[in-house]
């Protein structure tokens, strides 16, 4: 590493609710658009925007899509099963966070 690297500070962009295009999400997950479309159809992730050209995805969509991909690949879960699993896990997360807020952790 040279001294330039030590002083260089990288400024990124924060992904907001409507930051990622379909193409960007595909690249971020390393999948084809067809697969993203199929998980939108299963309402595993919900983009903003009326049609596919206007679709915009949030950071949460990115997390869910990547989880879905791993569940499909590692456990052989089908899309309906993935949707159910992710929703239940999210509920569990929320309950855990609530417990923490109440000081029961």
């Amino acid at each position: 590493m040279n001294s330039h690297d030590l002083t260089c500070v990288h400024t990124g962009t924060v992904i907001e609710e409507d930051s990622l295009t379909l193409g960007q999400l595909c690249r971020a997950c390393d999948v084809h658009a067809d697969w993203i479309i199929s998980i939108v159809e299963e309402s595993i992730i919900e983009p903003q925007g009326e049609n596919i050209r206007l679709w915009r995805f949030s950071g949460k969509c990115l997390l869910r899509a990547r989880s879905a991909l791993r569940l499909q690949r590692d456990l052989g879960v089908n899309l309906a099963g993935i949707a159910l699993a992710l929703d239940l896990m999210e509920e569990l997360e929320n309950l855990r966070a609530q417990m923490k807020t109440l000081g029961h952790s």
Partner: protein, 315 residues
């Protein structure tokens, strides 16, 4: 190199049937899948399990592994005996599916680095864009309040010209923007895997998580603080100093406040276009009745206050 007991990893005896192996894998994969499991070492366990299954599900690999003998103990220093794999044809062959790059030295020594045919993705064509990479980083609550620059270290497996996987370590200075929330992502263009040929590099996605804070808890954009108060402060009302991430503030506790009561300081949560709120949760602390004076005061309350906290229980 350490010997790995694949049967022990899967919780099976050496004479398990192929069906039992499959069932054990399914069950343990659900238990240790990093997306599902909350166990700390889930990811390592899941990888180990994948490796064990890779060997045991394949009758040929399993037979070769069995041939090493049952006397080895997990973790024991191991060197494969000469010609141990005589008569088996998988060495360097295409039998290994999955992400062989993630398997242990022990596995590679025995079965080679097979399965790499598909691993040079991103190198097809001449000008392919590099893959996007992902990492999770932990920051402090104060970093979100003030904005910060954090140095993060990343390790990425990369393939060298000989097709070997090497873990590359690098560190980056990252600007943490003010008001970032847990679960949000920062995208750094061009900081993912390098492209091949003239292809541009992929992006790096950083998922933000917060370290546990000794005082505060964060929920979305709201920040919570447990504030100990005396019984008389809660009962009579008081003005007390309260710490916030932006420095101490004076807080008015209204009379007749209850245990667990929440007081809101609007807009003093995580900063942003729509800043969150700061909540003070009252925790009434009882003075210990250790001195004669304290005992006398409690006794006086007992005599003079008509108070039954168990009224609602009907007793």
């Amino acid at each position: 190199m350490q010997y790995k007991d694949y049967y022990k990893i899967m919780g099976l005896s050496r004479d398990a049937t192929q069906d039992e192996i499959k069932r054990a894998y399914r069950k343990l994969a659900r238990k240790y899948h990093p997306d599902v499991s909350k166990e700390k070492d889930a990811e390592a366990k899941f990888k180990e399990l994948g490796e064990a299954y890779e060997v045991l599900k394949d009758p040929e690999k399993r037979a070769a592994y069995n041939q090493l003998g049952a006397d080895w103990k997990a973790g024991q220093d191991f060197r494969p005996p000469p010609n141990w794999n005589e008569g088996f044809e998988f060495k360097g062959g295409g039998f290994t599916g999955g992400d062989a790059g993630a398997f242990s030295d022990f596995f590679e020594q025995l079965f080679g680095r097979a399965g790499f045919g598909g691993a040079d993705r991103g190198q097809y064509g001449f000008h392919a864009r590099g893959q996007d990479s992902h990492a999770k980083i932990y920051i402090d609550l104060e970093d979100s309040f003030n904005g910060a620059t954090r140095n993060i270290s990343l390790s990425t497996p990369e393939m060298n010209a000989q097709g070997q996987v090497q873990v590359k370590h690098r560190s980056l200075n990252i600007k943490i923007p003010k008001g970032i929330k847990p679960g949000q992502h920062i995208r750094l263009a061009g900081q993912g895997s390098p492209g091949s040929g003239k292809g541009e590099a992929g992006d790096l996605f950083l998922e933000i998580a917060f370290n546990n804070h000794p005082l505060y808890r964060v929920s979305e954009t709201d920040v919570y603080l447990d504030l100990p108060v005396t019984p008389w402060e809660a009962a009579l009302g008081a003005k007390v100093k309260v710490p916030t991430p932006e420095g101490p503030v004076d807080l008015k506790i209204p009379p007749n406040s209850k245990q667990g009561g929440k007081l809101r300081l609007t807009g003093r949560g995580l900063p942003g276009q729509k800043p969150g709120d700061f909540y003070v949760v009252l925790q009434i602390a009882l003075p210990p009745a250790t001195s004669g004076q304290a005992k006398a005061l409690y006794e006086k309350m007992h005599q003079e206050l008509d108070f039954n906290p168990r009224q609602a229980l009907g007793v």
